[in-house]
């Protein structure tokens, strides 16, 4: 087994595109779940709306790249309003069910054959046909070549995506940090602790929750852009419910209601997944694991089992994650 390769892959995934995407998605969720106590199980929909908004406006409608970005962001705001309007007045589990249903509705609609001309159906919109991603890579200031050092070497296109992605992560963290120090942030956290108390102080709880849903959704939309641009394609089935729950695992691992919790969570999460994947692959190649027990197709399935188990165990034994504060986790149904 080539341990050098395994470790260098694991190190790469600490800064890799997945860590960026899931980090951003989890920062958005942190706004919803960690700070406001909103149980959004449809974060995948915010990513999908943004990715499709960008891809459709640029590739199908032929609009400029920046208009596509605006369309994606506008899509996320509209989605937040649509989801929040019926459910933010109801109990937490209603929001959970409605958001997960909305995410599936969006995925099923964009993958349907009826809309193949607009959304590409189940195969999605590749960047190759009508390259929405080219608008992004045209902005790349880095010429052809390799950038970085040690195991962290990337060619110019992924490097550009990573630079933009990590910039967005830092900016989002800054926004969350500033918001949470502001009076607005204190009201939002108070809503998480006791909604009725806040209401009795004359605050419009519904409006605050809606604002939180929109802000978290916009950060989710940034994750959607990076997801679409990094792969240079948009595929409906990548935006399934698993994406949302991976983001929850990332958030809870790092620690909810902490500014850097989701970011550190994403780094550790993808580093660990890369380790298990690579170790299993190499063990199968080297014959340490007999093929009747596991073949290389099944390694990807083990990843999901690990995540599911991790989510359960974290929630049971350490709901505050690595950096969280147990007193700050909203875990009672309201």
């Amino acid at each position: 087994m080539d341990w050098g390769q395994i470790i260098s892959n694991a190190l790469r995934s600490i800064v890799g595109l997945e860590a960026v995407i899931y980090g951003l998605a989890a920062i958005g969720l942190n706004m919803h779940f960690g700070y406001t106590g909103l149980l959004n199980f449809g974060q995948a929909a915010f990513l999908a709306v943004a990715a499709y908004g960008l891809a459709i406006s640029v590739s199908i409608a032929g609009l400029p790249f920046w208009v596509g970005i605006l369309a994606g962001l506008a899509g996320a705001v509209v989605l937040a309003l649509l989801l929040g309007a019926p459910t933010l007045r109801l109990r937490a589990d209603y929001l959970a069910i409605v958001t997960i249903a909305a995410a599936e509705i969006f995925r099923l609609v964009v993958r349907s054959a009826t809309l193949r001309d607009q959304t590409g159906g189940s195969s999605g919109l590749p960047g190759g046909f009508a390259p929405f991603a080219e608008g992004f890579y045209d902005l790349n200031p880095f010429g052809p070549g390799e950038y970085g050092f040690g195991p962290f070497r990337f060619s110019e296109r992924p490097f550009w995506a990573l630079v933009v992605g990590w910039t967005l992560v830092v900016l989002s963290c800054l926004v969350i940090f500033l918001l949470m120090r502001s009076p607005w942030g204190r009201v939002v956290k108070a809503i998480r602790e006791d909604e009725d108390a806040v209401r009795s102080l004359g605050k419009n709880v519904y409006a605050y929750k809606m604002q939180s849903l929109i802000i978290g959704g916009l950060i989710g939309a940034l994750a959607g852009f990076i997801f679409a641009l990094g792969r240079a394609s948009v595929q409906p089935d990548l935006y399934g419910t698993e994406l949302t729950f991976f983001a929850y695992t990332v958030l809870i691992l790092g620690g909810a209601a902490r500014v850097f919790g989701p970011v550190v969570g994403a780094m550790i999460f993808w580093c660990l997944l890369s380790l298990t994947d690579n170790i299993l692959f190499q063990a199968i190649d080297a014959g340490y694991i007999p093929t009747w027990l596991m073949d290389s197709n099944q390694v990807g399935q083990v990843r999901f089992m690990v995540v599911g188990l991790a989510l359960m165990l974290l929630m049971i034994f350490r709901p505050q994650g690595i950096f969280g504060d147990k007193r700050e986790i909203a875990l009672d149904a309201r």
Binding site: P86, D93, A113, T114, N297, V302, M305, G308, M312
Partner: protein
């Protein structure tokens, strides 16, 4: 105590692995160049001897193939490109027809190293003229069948929610588990499906009890919050779903019995006999559940716990015992739903997960926590899904059901049979 619980969990997972492991078929790796391939099946049976000719777009012959005993055919191609695949209508056996008689040749693009699957659906022509009224009646019956199966699963979910407050995202996996254990006893062991189904219900009931004992009862004792438990159930759902995939494989398979039946026509309705039986079994089970809930001491106790656990406990009801029974019966009902769903639309590792959201829709529609609401909600969702195909594409039928879930929350958040109480 905790050690025992974990040993129990390990035993549960181990038992699951043993039960499902034998059914697993290792996927074989395929390598090689470009090819087009396909399978001919007519009414569930493979069809041998159908000739397929492949030419390049320019008209150069690329190869021919004849389907083998499994109905399979494959043509190796010289390279990537666009090919015309043509079916020889003369080679169709007596009585076997194309579903679309004009669809005998197709032009398909083949990418480098792609194994391109080409489908010529065989079967009775679907272009039979049927009036909208007749179609509506047919779809109503199909909707009722689906709704009854959903109801079996959603009553369990609703009772568990009512008695423990848990929104169980792993309920879909109880359905899949039922379908798979029945598959194991039916196909791998070789029992008749009815015996296999009975064993499955008992096994799944026991597993429901075990799941409650090693997981949920412990969490309740620790005082874990409801949202935390909901997230635990999501983790469990992901974990179990991929255990099923690992052991069963990604393909869709059917039971050995009742998979091929000619449909029976009753007036405008034509359904296979198995579908009528499914509906009858589901109806009897639902009536039984209704009787138990309304007339027996245990049922009254269950409803009392659903209403107010503390008051029920204060009046001398053993709440934990009620919850245990709810878990056992909920898992057993979900298993039966899994078997019936497996008969209706075959078995797959995510069959339960695919209907989970519809079950949520049904339960919310009827009123969270009310058993009869779940029944009414399921029937409405089932009917709505099937009847909506009159106006929207069938692939979008679940979308309609999920959309009414959102609409109902706007206008009547407590559901149809839910009491008007504050849910905010």
């Amino acid at each position: 105590m905790r050690v025992r619980a974990w040993l129990g969990l390990a035993a549960f997972i181990g038992a699951l692995a043993c039960v499902l492991g034998v059914g697993a078929v290792p996927a074989s790796a395929q390598t090689g160049g470009e090819r087009v391939t396909g399978v001919f099946r007519f009414e569930g049976q493979p069809v041998e001897g159908i000739k397929v000719t492949v030419t390049t777009e320019a008209g150069q012959p690329a190869g021919t193939a004849t389907s083998d005993a499994q109905g399979r055919w494959t043509v190796e191609l010289p390279g990537p490109g666009r090919y015309k695949v043509e079916l020889d209508k003369e080679s169709l056996p007596e009585g076997v027809t194309l579903r679309d008689p004009d669809r005998t040749s197709l032009i398909v693009p083949v990418a480098p190293q792609q194994r391109r699957a080409v489908l010529f659906p065989l079967g009775e022509s679907t272009r039979k003229t049927q009036s909208t009224g007749e179609r509506a009646i047919q779809l109503t019956v199909e909707g009722l069948r689906f709704g009854l199966i959903l109801a079996l699963a959603s009553i369990g979910l609703s009772l568990i929610f009512g008695t423990t407050g848990l929104t169980n995202f792993a309920h879909g996996e109880l359905i899949t588990l039922g379908g798979m254990i029945a598959f194991y006893f039916n196909v791998t062991v070789g029992m008749h499906l009815i015996i296999a189904a009975l064993i499955t219900i008992v096994v799944c009931g026991a597993l429901g009890w075990l799941q409650d004992k090693v997981l949920w009862a412990q969490l309740r004792r620790r005082g874990t919050g409801l949202i935390a438990m909901m997230i635990v159930s999501i983790g469990l759902s992901i974990f179990l779903r991929y255990v099923f995939l690992y052991l069963f494989g990604g393909e869709t398979r059917s039971y050995a019995d009742y998979s091929t039946q000619t449909s029976l026509s009753l007036g405008p309705v034509s359904l296979a006999p198995r579908d009528f039986w499914s509906m009858a079994i589901a109806t009897i089970m639902l009536l039984l559940v209704g009787y138990v809930l309304l007339r027996t001491r245990m049922g009254k106790a269950t409803r009392a716990v659903s209403d107010n656990p503390s008051l029920a406990a204060a009046s001398g009801i053993d709440v934990e015992r009620v919850i245990r029974l709810v878990w056992i019966s909920g898992a057993a009902l979900a298993a039966l739903a899994g078997v019936l769903l497996g008969i209706a639309q075959q078995i797959n590792f995510q069959m339960g997960f695919q209907v989970l959201l519809l079950i949520f829709a049904a339960v919310t529609l009827g009123g969270l926590g009310t058993a009869f609401g779940a029944l009414v909600g399921s029937l409405i969702v089932g009917l709505f899904i099937q009847l909506s195909t009159l106006v929207i594409a069938p692939e979008l039928k679940s979308v309609g059901a999920l959309a009414i879930l959102i609409v109902i929350l706007l206008v009547r958040p407590q559901g149809i049979l839910g009491r008007r109480e504050r849910v905010g």
